[in-house]
Amino acid sequence: MTRRLLLMLPLVGFLVLGAFLYQGLSLNPFQRESALMAREFPAFQLPTLEDPERIVDESLLEGEVTLVNVWGEWCPTCKQEMPQLLDLADRGVRLVGVDYKDTREKGGAFLAEFGNPFEVNIFDSEGVLGFDLGVYGAPETFLVDRDGIIRYHHTGYIKPEDVHDVILPEVRKWQ
């Protein structure tokens, strides 16, 4: 009897491995948790898009739950995402933009055309802050709590239904 059970062992092993690999097939390889989750927002010192003379740092994000959205004029999905961000701003969510690898002219024109839901935009033309945030595309959105800790990360496009289903509940959770 034990001998027969022992003979089944390779089959059991195979089934376990099979189940493990099978569920891997349906995973989205782009849905990875940010390495910065539950860590402090990286330190930075950059000018704003609105005023080149004004230098802001990470203290900008303290005291209030803030949604930090990384965008750029060159990014087509960012344009589609703007209505959702304007909606969130209308609902009283504080938004700060990071204009990533952009020029002042293009960034300004983008906001003039698609609307500006951001309280202020950090102008990151070289992508220095983006690099420290582990951004490898745009748009990407980070939820930062009142102590400046990153609490949620959204890779890619915020769909219209995500506003109510995902983003707002996360914001409320940390407010």
């Binding site: 390889p29 990875r32 948790e33 940010s34 390495a35 910065l36 690898k101 992508g127 690099f131 420290d132 945030l133 582990g134 951004v135 490898y136 595309g137």
Partner: protein, 155 residues
Amino acid sequence: MAVIRWFFVILLLATGMAHGGAVEVREFSNPVLEQRYQSLTASLRCPKCQNQAINDSDSPISQDMRERVYAMLQDGRSDMEIRDHMVQRFGDYVLYNPRLEGRTYLLWGLPAVLVVAGAVLVMLLIRARRNASVRALSNEERHRLEALIKQEKGQ
């Protein structure tokens, strides 16, 4: 013969072209630094692409990462520091060789465990088979066998 030689020349040129896009010209003060740059950029994975090292990818983030590796090497940082720098930002995903830590013991240890288990299994099987063949002869059979051997020698 000449045809085959030409085939290889074209093949070499083609592979050279395929890689040309992702490689910048870098100046190194010594060959060791260059060697480290090559091995680091070959062992870090591009976070944007599915399965490409940063030295093999044209994506903007790979360019930024190569730039950072180069800058940190010039700055005298160790390989470990550079890897940690990338993992802090982009996660364990960027390492082709996962680090040995609590949750990767199983990953690194399992192959060795399986090899040892396999060796033990083979040894047990061999021993079982040897015992079985000894036991297969009854006393009577053994006597007959000895008689036969004796007979054979006698001839």
